[in-house]
Amino acid sequence: MRIDPAGVLLGGFGLAAGLALPLVTVAPNRLVSGQGVSLWAVGQRLGPQLEQVTGQDAWVADVSSTALALALALVVTSLLMLSLIAFWRKAAMGPDGMTVALGVALIPALLLLAGRYALHISQNESTLSRTALGSGFWVMVLVVWLAVSNALQRLRAGWALGAGVRAVIAGCVLAALALGWCDQLSLMREFANHADTLGAAVLRHVQIVVLTLLPALCIGLPLGWMVNRSTRLRQWLLPPLNVIQTIPSIALFGLLMVPLAWAAQAWPGLAAMGVSGIGLAPAVVALTLYSLLPVVRGTQAGLAQVPGAVLDAARGMGMGSAQMFWHAQLPLAAPVILAGIRTATIQTVGLAAVAALVGAGGLGAIMFDGLFGSAQDLVLLGVLPIVGLAVLLDLGFEVLNRLAHVRTGGTV
């Protein structure tokens, strides 16, 4: 019998988190920190409810109560099984397939349980009381996610299957949220309170990212090409770009406020275009500066690794500079250039949150509202879409990357 050590470790962690850490915390209002409630206690409290819920007539209640019952059973059994599964070699689906299946069921089930408990609290205690997702929930979700990834890797699942499994998990979670089964969770109540501003904040965030990447690419790609041709330029240009990366983002935003405010005053045309010391302008300028290094470096490294023999042969056969660039240099450098743009994009999505401090808005504004008001779930409401955005964009780049590699015939 071969044991999968990673599986044992993750199963153990999951079980320990389920037993020892609170699944949710309950607080009398949104500003006080709450009391932890363990998975066990949640089960004890919700168990007797099952019969009452089944009595209701609306079909939603039926579905949700069935789902609840299933979720309860699932959470308990699958946590147990996940921890044992690594030892279990002769299961019909194989232990790794089983882990994936359990993982897909477990994450939505945990969420459903927490949501149900929140509903129970709001019905039986004060409507001001807040039920928030506890450390146990987050640790279990993380552990299950890792266990699923580990199992997919052991199964040598293709990239498409891996993405599919993750999409199913995300889809189930989103469906549970959309159906309103978690509406009484603190996070969703914050969502309801900020629903009008959240959409605008996401749009604003995307706007900052796009406005940053456009100039970063327009400047960075040609700069990378030039840097690759001239060692002198490389020695002059890359150190300042490196230094920019080391400036803390808040400091850079602050540093840019003064010159931009001055520029807007000196040239009214700029001010008319919306440039000022605060808001979008310093944010986009700073983020563009941060993005230049990965884009320039990626472009330079990509072009530099194009085999010299290919270019030598191409020139010898009569290709002109432009033909060599489009037929050989660009397609062969594409994967590395793409990696640079990917880094710049993901970095910008994250750093754009900080730009809220200079009044640029975006999801960072919601996050800082939560931080300054010590409302943890409001912080989450700002951060989770940022993470989601980053994951989505990363996924998009992964697809592009695969396409670029297929074209070069290299191994991924």
């Binding site: 290919v310 009569g318 290709m319 015939g409």
Partner: protein, 314 residues
């Protein structure tokens, strides 16, 4: 076909090519040989203007090469290098079709040409057309590289140590292939190498380059039998110069027209070197010789090989 007239080139103050005069006739397989740093690659690259020259004239087809656009000049000359330089993201077929595509040939003609070249280099078209370079062995990649250089039926084929990176067996096979193609097509080929055996095997004329100058130009046989000076002797390999000389001559040519004598028989098309080797190994002084069709052609006597009239220097 190609004529160098008083060509000089310096690189960072050092003379790389020094007053070079050289004429390459149509249909020759001319081998430029020399130690590394002798300037032989530079001379080759001057022909298709990858390396500019400082002074003198290079004529191609009677016209000075400066009067051509580099692109037009290169499209008329095939170019194959040691590191091959296939486009890694293109299939074998598209790689071979590079120059025909640049010349704007119709697709049907290109397809036919690619298949013909693959067949010429013993790569089954159906099997290899759609492969990517990384799916080929080193020898196969070099075959495709040479096929690519020949694709648009160029007037001249320039080859810079094309077989340098291959194992001895693959190298020998490709050398034979090149020899065959040269014989069949009658193309002018200029090949750079530092391997004297490759030069002696392939060349119709060998040009030995040292410090950017021509030390000697001669047929392989003449180079061995009449080395111009000590540098040539040194380069050719003083101790086994006679053995190399033997290897360039056919056993049939020295055989006496006699009926079969009892004893050993040499394989068809064997060289004198093989004959001497077998006679030494088996302690005999004569051996039966076959002609190219495998018929008995005569008897070779050891005494005739070492007779005064045909020896090196004689």
């Amino acid at each position: 076909m190609i004529r160098f007239e008083h060509i000089c080139k310096s690189y960072k103050g050092a003379r790389v090519v020094d007053d070079l005069n050289l004429h390459i006739a149509r249909g020759e397989l001319l081998v430029l040989i020399g130690a590394s740093g002798s300037g032989k690659s530079t001379i080759l690259k001057m022909i298709n203007r990858l390396e500019p020259h400082d002074s003198g004239r290079i004529l191609f087809d009677g016209r000075e090469i400066q009067s051509f656009k580099p692109r037009d000049l290169r499209l008329r000359m095939g170019y194959a290098i040691q590191s091959v330089g296939l486009f890694p993201h293109w299939t074998v077929a598209r790689n071979i079709a590079t120059v025909p595509n640049l010349l704007g040939w119709p697709a049907a003609k290109i397809g036919k040409r690619v298949d013909a070249l693959l067949t010429l280099f013993e790569l089954a078209p159906a099997q290899y057309r759609t492969r990517l370079p990384h799916q080929l062995s080193g020898g196969q990649q070099q075959r495709v590289g040479v096929a690519r250089a020949l694709a648009a039926d160029p007037d001249v084929l320039l080859m810079d140590e094309p077989f340098g990176a291959l194992d001895p067996v693959t190298r020998a096979a490709l050398q034979q292939a090149l020899k065959r193609i040269h014989r069949q097509s009658g193309k002018t080929i200029v090949l750079v190498t530092h391997d004297i055996d490759e030069a002696l095997l392939l060349a119709t004329r060998v040009v030995l380059i040292d410090q950017g100058r021509v030390v000697q130009q001669a047929t392989p046989l003449d180079l061995l039998s009449r080395p111009a000076n000590a540098t040539v002797e040194e380069f050719v390999g003083r101790s086994d110069i006679g053995i190399k000389w033997l290897s360039l001559q056919s056993a049939v040519d020295r055989a006496r027209a006699q009926p079969t004598s009892p004893g050993l028989t040499l394989a068809a098309q064997a060289s004198l070197r093989e004959a001497v080797s077998i006679m030494a190994l088996h302690h005999v002084d004569r051996i039966n010789v076959l002609d190219t069709s495998g018929q008995h052609a005569g008897v070779l006597y050891a005494a005739d090989v070492f007779a005064p009239q045909g020896t090196p220097g004689g």
